[in-house]
């Protein structure tokens, strides 16, 4: 592994290896002194072309606890107006001799393009509506801690699927780990070509959340931006909440052991009710906590020596 651009590039074994390493990294989090010397002398640039709080701070902490020198850079999503190309921008930074760029960009595919241009490792920290691989890995980590092996488990992913990079990475990751996935959204928020896509990759889709909930082991609620209403994706927030929100009534449809995830930030009262978000079965804070450990594992796998650390 040189880059982490898409979950599609990872084998099941590589995913499990990252998740296993994350277990020991997670232990570091509970020590008084959290620093490991593993990446001493390595330089990581967190290059964020789009606002982010939790992903950026989580990568930054992960780097620091592994003793890497981490530097945060923010950029405008596009410097087209300045006449500088994205290639120029990243080559300039790359020329300073960094070991890794962690890139968040509003444009799908930008980290993959950057990986073609620069010599260092590139981690996709979320690109447009394409992927968010570290989020999927931390979701898998969290789900495995709650449910054990994900082989044969049923996970529903619900919400604004069209615009969700979390969806795309999670779909790939969960399927690699043997889970059965059902996507639930109104037709307007289903990704393009979903019929052909689900047929090719073997997952299910549904417009009816009530029908799906009783059979899931986990339900992953995705953020729905209120701006989507003006795009005509759905009529009102109220109608969305009633039709696709995880309401108190719907909590009653879940099996006893079923858990709830949300990558955040949550729109309480829209896609997820307060009752669901704060329920004992909600893993929302566990996800955040796992974020640092999983990202430490990712940095370790990409930077500490060659290849996967078997």
């Amino acid at each position: 592994m040189k880059h982490l651009l898409s979950i599609a590039d990872l084998s099941r074994e590589e995913i499990l290896s990252v998740l296993d390493t994350a277990v020991s990294m997670h232990e570091v989090q509970h020590r008084d002194v959290k620093k490991l010397p593993t990446l001493r002398g390595r330089t990581i640039i967190n290059f964020f072309f789009e606002d982010s709080t939790r992903t950026r701070s989580s990568f930054e902490i992960a780097g620091k606890w592994l003793s890497a020198d981490t530097i945060n850079l923010t950029g405008k999503g596009t410097s087209v107006s300045k006449g500088e190309s994205l290639r120029d921008t990243v080559l300039t930074i790359g020329a300073m001799g960094v070991d890794m760029m962690v890139v968040r960009h509003p444009a799908s595919g930008a980290p993959a393009q950057i990986a073609d241009w620069v010599g260092c490792s590139v981690v996709n920290a979320g690109d447009g509506t394409h992927e968010h691989p570290s989020q999927a890995l931390l979701d898998a980590y969290t789900l495995r801690r709650a449910l054990g092996d994900l082989e044969g488990r049923h996970v529903a992913i619900v919400g604004d699927l069209t615009h969700s990079r979390v969806l795309r990475s999670n779909l790939l990751c969960l399927q690699r780990l043997g889970a059965r996935v059902t996507l639930v959204a109104p037709p307007t928020l289903m990704p393009s070509g979903i019929a052909a896509w689900s047929g090719a990759d073997g997952f299910a889709t549904s417009y009816d959340l009530d029908e799906v909930l009783p059979t899931v082991d986990a339900v992953m609620m995705l953020r729905v931006q209120r701006e989507r209403m003006s795009g005509g994706y759905f009529p009102t927030a109220k109608e969305y909440a009633v039709t696709y929100g995880l309401t108190p009534r719907r909590l009653g449809l879940l099996q006893d052991h079923a858990v709830i995830c949300h990558p955040g930030p949550m729109n309480r009262g829209l896609e997820i009710s307060a009752d669901a978000a704060d329920a004992a079965r909600s893993l929302v804070l566990d996800q955040v906590s796992a974020g640092v450990a999983v990202r430490m594992s990712i940095l370790y796998h990409l930077l500490a020596g060659e290849g996967s650390q078997e």
């Binding site: 087209v80 290639r87 120029d88 509506t129 393009s192 070509g193």
Partner: protein, 449 residues
């Protein structure tokens, strides 16, 4: 004007070339015209006639491109009329229609005449400016269509290319207006509500997976359907630029069957390249309309072969490097096309047995010249016609090298591809303008025959 367009070239006898793939005939070119054919050509060749060996080559009427972006005025760093003309000559063209989306926009007679004059000064191909349909391409008010038509540039083709004339009333008025001088409106069919500015990837499974804003086929098809009905209503001519979907083909076939005066073009890239190339997010494959799935490309090839699509037009769209080296959604739309058009058509249509060389002459010379009402182009290889001719080596295999181009730009999606068939030589009114990719004046003072 420079010397290369004024002095009279010596007579030339092209010997042994297969004329339109329909039989070997000698062709005598004198005083800028086709002077004689067959035995007459040899008999009438005056003393001092230069002989050109055409064995194994196919002779076509000079190619005409209905859809070129020359970028001048405004973006002379990407292309100029001169460099674009050279690329055209190298690609076998003797005339190009230069799109109006320059800066300033070709929406008045002054800009049209300027582009026209720059073309004459360059002297490699006839440069015919396309006039904008609307002022500033804004889609609101008609541009000075009539004045452009009456200008020295004699504009006959009008297009807001790059943008769609989406207002049905404005489109209707434009269609009515161009009737007075037998003009045509060339439409970039893209409903801006169904496919907005960010749309950059065919909407379907791949755009879903890649998370790229989708450009659905229906955004093209609904506009094509509307426009053919407007053409029927107004009794005017409409031309569909760069058709990219099977559904548009169906609509055009339906309209033609009912006698509606509609013509259509397809680009070489939509004939051969497909959406799967976008999987790596390389902006060299970003083009508008986007590359489509294999089934659409197949429908386009079929429609070109059966005459539903009239013309191959390049949509040659040069861009400087830095405008392409952005994230995919931010990068400029468009790809080069002039120098690879003939080899691509040869490879995908002729080598596959779908079309003969006479068909190539029709779709790349005769029909585009007729649609643009160019009197001196696309007349075929007949006695008395201007000697606008292209000699093609139909079997030459070559690998496209983006570095070897007359264009100022290098956004070439064909780089590294093997194509079969190449332009050997281009002649504009009896003068050799290009030979084996080299052009007269730029590469050599006098191209050897």
């Amino acid at each position: 004007m420079t010397a290369r367009t004024t002095s009279t070239p010596p007579p030339v006898l092209v010997q042994g070339a297969d004329v339109l793939g329909q039989g070997v005939q000698d062709v005598l070119v004198a005083d800028g015209r086709v002077a004689a054919l067959g035995a007459d050509a040899t008999a009438q060749a005056p003393r001092g006639t230069q002989r050109m060996h055409g064995d194994g080559l196919v002779l076509l009427p000079g190619l005409v491109d209905l859809h070129t972006h020359l970028r001048e005025p405004g973006r002379e760093d990407a292309e100029t009329v001169e460099t674009g003309s050279r690329a055209a000559a190298a690609g076998g063209f003797t005339a190009v229609l230069a799109m109006a989306n320059t800066d300033p926009v070709t929406d008045n007679a002054e800009v049209a005449e300027r582009v026209h004059d720059l073309g004459r000064r360059a002297g490699y191909v006839d440069v015919h400016p396309v006039g904008a349909v609307s002022k500033g391409l804004a889609g609101e008010e008609l541009a000075e269509i009539g004045l452009m038509a009456r200008s020295r540039a004699r504009v006959r083709v009008f297009s807001d290319d790059g943008r769609c004339v989406h207002d049905a009333r404005l489109m209707r008025r434009a269609l009515e207006y161009v009737k007075t001088f037998d003009g045509v409106v060339s439409q970039h069919s893209q409903d801006p509500r169904l496919a907005g500015a960010g749309a950059c990837c065919h909407e379907g499974e791949l755009s879903g997976r890649l998370g790229l804003p989708g450009w659905p086929a229906v955004a093209e098809e609904t506009v094509v359907a509307r426009d053919v009905m407007l053409a029927r209503h107004t009794g005017s001519r409409v031309h569909v630029a760069h058709v990219s979907t099977a559904g548009s083909v169906e609509v055009i076939r339906w309209a033609k069957a009912r006698g509606i005066d509609v013509t259509a073009e397809v680009t070489p890239h939509h004939l051969m390249l497909t959406e799967d190339l976008l999987a790596g997010y390389d902006p060299v494959y970003k083009v508008n309309p986007p590359l489509r799935p294999t089934e659409d490309a197949e429908a386009l090839r079929e429609a070109l072969a059966d005459g539903t699509i009239d013309v191959v037009a390049t949509d040659h769209a040069p861009h400087v490097r830095q405008d392409k080296e952005h994230a995919f959604v931010d990068a400029a739309f468009g790809m080069l096309g002039l120098e690879t058009a003939l080899p691509v058509v040869s490879t995908v249509m002729v080598r596959s047995g779908r079309m003969g060389w006479a068909d190539v002459a029709r779709v790349m010379s005769t029909s585009p010249a007729r649609i643009a009402r160019l009197g001196t182009q696309g007349q075929g290889v007949v006695v008395g016609a201007p000697a606008n001719l292209t000699l093609v080596d139909p079997t030459r295999e070559h690998t496209v090298d983006a570095a070897l181009s007359q264009s100022l730009s290098r956004n070439n999606p064909w780089h590294g591809r093997e194509l079969v068939g190449a332009v050997h030589l281009t002649m504009l009114r009896g003068r050799v303008t290009a030979r084996e990719g080299l052009v007269w004046g730029a590469d050599e003072e006098e191209l050897e025959l």
